[in-house]
């Protein structure tokens, strides 16, 4: 007979902890804190005076001031930039979903031999650095009179996000048995009814997380904004950038404007994190 000693797991509340789980928990908290630290530091800096901001070693305890925030608002029109951010990211998300949904539907439910190749090709376009397409796109916008234009940004954000959106929706749709859609067809559903009453409710999670990701990516996009817009169509990304150039660096004002730029999307992300995680794990977590 063999004797095996089984370590009794420690019970706390409703969870059962063992060594591996404790290690993993500590490690993930560590990584999360490490990743959050720069953001935390930025928020802290935004409440310092410029002098406090450049102090070495860093000040941890100081009297917070709101002067950076008021000055940012005085110097530039935050709300006009924020409005552009909202319009471009929401616009490109809606447009992107309208294009990606039918594309993913046809690839998931009526695949051909080339479907996998097309998906790979779509993804491969993301491997090219954006700057590679800058000159043709700049010239196109110039010729069409679309420089510094919100509409142009919407189109570009949409195209930029489409490969990811199609992929996410494709993997999401793939998990829906096609027989369920076929059953609705047998029940007399038109294509629209099949989509509205069967596919949409079943794919809601996937559509939501795809939309959310697209929203975040568009909101944070800086490259195209900086190169194609100025005062008119600039988004919050260009507002942030405007604080890092001409008169040298002002750490606390830059921090304040950055906090203002990311605040809406961070708050938004906080409330939608469940959908985001679900979408980003590509259906791996059920």
């Amino acid at each position: 007979m063999s004797t095996t000693t089984v370590k009794k797991p420690v019970r706390t509340g409703k969870y059962t902890w063992n060594g591996a789980m404790i290690t993993r928990t500590v490690a993930s908290y560590g990584v999360a804190l490490l990743m959050f630290f720069p953001i935390f530091f930025m928020i802290l800096t935004s409440f310092k005076t410029e002098l406090q901001a450049i102090a070495v070693p860093s000040l941890w305890i100081f009297e917070p001031t709101l002067e950076n925030y008021t000055e940012v608002q005085e110097r530039s029109d935050y709300f006009s930039f924020a409005w552009n951010s909202v319009v471009t990211s929401v616009g490109s998300t809606i447009l992107g979903l309208m294009i990606a949904t039918p594309a993913a539907y046809s690839m998931a439910f009526n695949p051909t031999k080339q479907t996998k190749n097309i998906l790979m090709w779509m993804l491969s376009t993301k491997m090219m650095p954006a700057v590679g397409a800058l000159i043709p796109i700049y010239l196109l916008c110039q010729k069409l009179g679309l420089l510094d234009n919100v509409f142009a940004l919407i189109i570009i954000f949409t195209l930029m996000n489409l490969p990811i959106m199609v992929w996410m929706l494709y993997t999401n749709f793939k998990e829906i048995p096609s027989e369920i859609l076929e059953a609705s067809r047998m029940d007399g559903a038109t294509l629209w009814e099949e989509f509205r009453y069967v596919l949409l409710p079943l794919a809601m999670g996937g559509l939501a997380s795809t939309g959310l990701l697209c929203l975040v990516l568009s909101w944070n996009e800086a490259f195209w904004v900086l190169n194609l817009t100025s005062a008119n169509a600039g988004t919050l990304a260009s507002l942030v950038a405007s604080y890092s150039s001409p008169e040298g660096l002002f750490w606390s004002k830059l921090s304040a404007v950055s906090v203002l730029a990311i605040a809406p999307i961070v708050i938004f992300g906080w409330f939608s994190q469940k959908q985001l995680v679900q979408g980003l794990t590509f259906g791996a977590v059920k």
């Binding site: 048995p177 027989e179 369920i180 076929e182 059953a183 609705s184 067809r185 047998m186 029940d187 007399g188 559903a189 038109t190 009814e193 009453y197 069967v198 409710p201 079943l202």
Partner: protein, 335 residues
């Protein structure tokens, strides 16, 4: 005229010719069963009738109308899928009423129809549940309920019982037979299980490699298989086959002779028409299957309804009923 008519229908999957010019006429109210080995094209043929697969050649006529290219939604057929394919986000009630709601039937009438179907299928207590909260057998009944509330022109079933355990399968089979008797609706039913085929069908269609091998009543197929394949496919255990030269007395110019296990009898080796060595005895209580080998290489099975003293290795003789002998030519066609 036939109610549902398949005229020379063809199906290609790329280079694969999955359905090869099938002709079939189904009468109103008939229960037709497609049976055949896995991969022979049963589901494909059913899905072509359903409109879920494009028909690459030939015509499909339903109730006098050519529906070859009509979309599924407009064919007025109902289908029960192997996986049931219930709408997971809808309650049992909503699953069953979905088609009627799409068709904008009066809500009071929908209610009445759903309740009637639920009662018939023992689902009344589960109407507010979602499919997740049901057992396999209950889901199966919801799938059937979804089909019957609509009173469609034809019911299509694709191996509806294959996900149930044996006991439930037998019970549901009887229920489906009763349902058909009650509703009298034209039904096309796919299965690879010959017991289902034999017990449910008015006529059985035996398929192989995209071709219809034989169409007939269950007993017709059993008693008069048109070829070697059907003789082997229908009947459990299979019909015994022996080269003609073992039985010259009954061969009459055939290449192969077939005799069903129950038409053979194990006797003393002395002077019998055939003799062999016992390889296995299966005593099932009501019947006994004696497996034996003839001339060291041809396996046959004798079925008898009395028990036996025979042991593995015994040499036995075999007698058979000469009037029940099937003869096949070298192509495998019945003579």
């Amino acid at each position: 005229m036939a109610f549902l008519k398949l005229q020379n229908v063809d199906k290609y999957y790329g280079k694969l010719h999955a359905i090869k010019g099938v002709n079939l006429e189904i009468e109103n109210g008939e229960f037709i069963v497609f049976v055949g080995p896995s991969g022979c094209g049963k589901s494909t043929l059913l899905r072509m009738i359903a409109g879920l697969e494009v028909i690459n050649g030939g015509e499909l006529i339903l109730d006098g109308k050519d529906i070859t290219t009509t979309p599924s939604a407009q064919r007025d057929l109902a289908m029960v899928f192997q996986s049931y394919a219930l709408y997971p986000h809808m309650t049992v009630e909503d699953n069953m009423s979905f088609a009627l709601r799409l068709a904008k039937v009066d809500p009071a009438e929908i209610q009445e129809k759903v309740e009637k179907a639920a009662e018939k299928l023992d689902l009344t207590a589960y109407l507010k549940r979602t499919p997740k909260m049901l057992s396999g057998g209950q889901r199966q009944r919801v799938a059937i309920g979804r089909a019957i509330v609509r009173s469609p022109k034809v019911f299509l079933f694709d191996e509806p019982l294959s996900n149930l355990d044996a006991a439930l399968r037998g019970q549901t089979r009887v229920e489906i037979a009763e349902l058909h008797r009650e509703l009298g609706a034209t039904t096309v039913y796919v299965t690879h299980d010959q017991v289902e085929a034999m017990t449910l069908a008015d006529r059985v269609v035996v398929l192989r490699d995209g071709i219809i091998e034989q169409v007939g009543t269950p007993l017709d197929l059993y008693d008069h298989p048109k070829n070697r394949f059907v003789s082997q496919f229908i009947g459990m255990p299979q019909m015994n086959l022996l080269p003609a030269d073992f039985l010259p007395a009954v061969a009459e110019g055939s290449a192969e002779v077939g005799i069903r296990p129950e038409h053979m009898k194990a006797v003393g080796a002395e002077g019998a028409a055939l003799s062999g060595v016992v390889e296995l005895v299966e005593s099932l209580g009501n019947e006994t299957l004696i497996h034996m080998k003839i001339a060291g290489k041809h396996q046959i099975i004798v079925r008898q309804y009395v028990r036996t003293e025979l042991k593995i290795g015994d040499t036995v003789g075999v007698e058979f009923d000469a009037s029940r002998v099937h003869r096949f030519d070298s192509e495998g066609l019945a003579l």
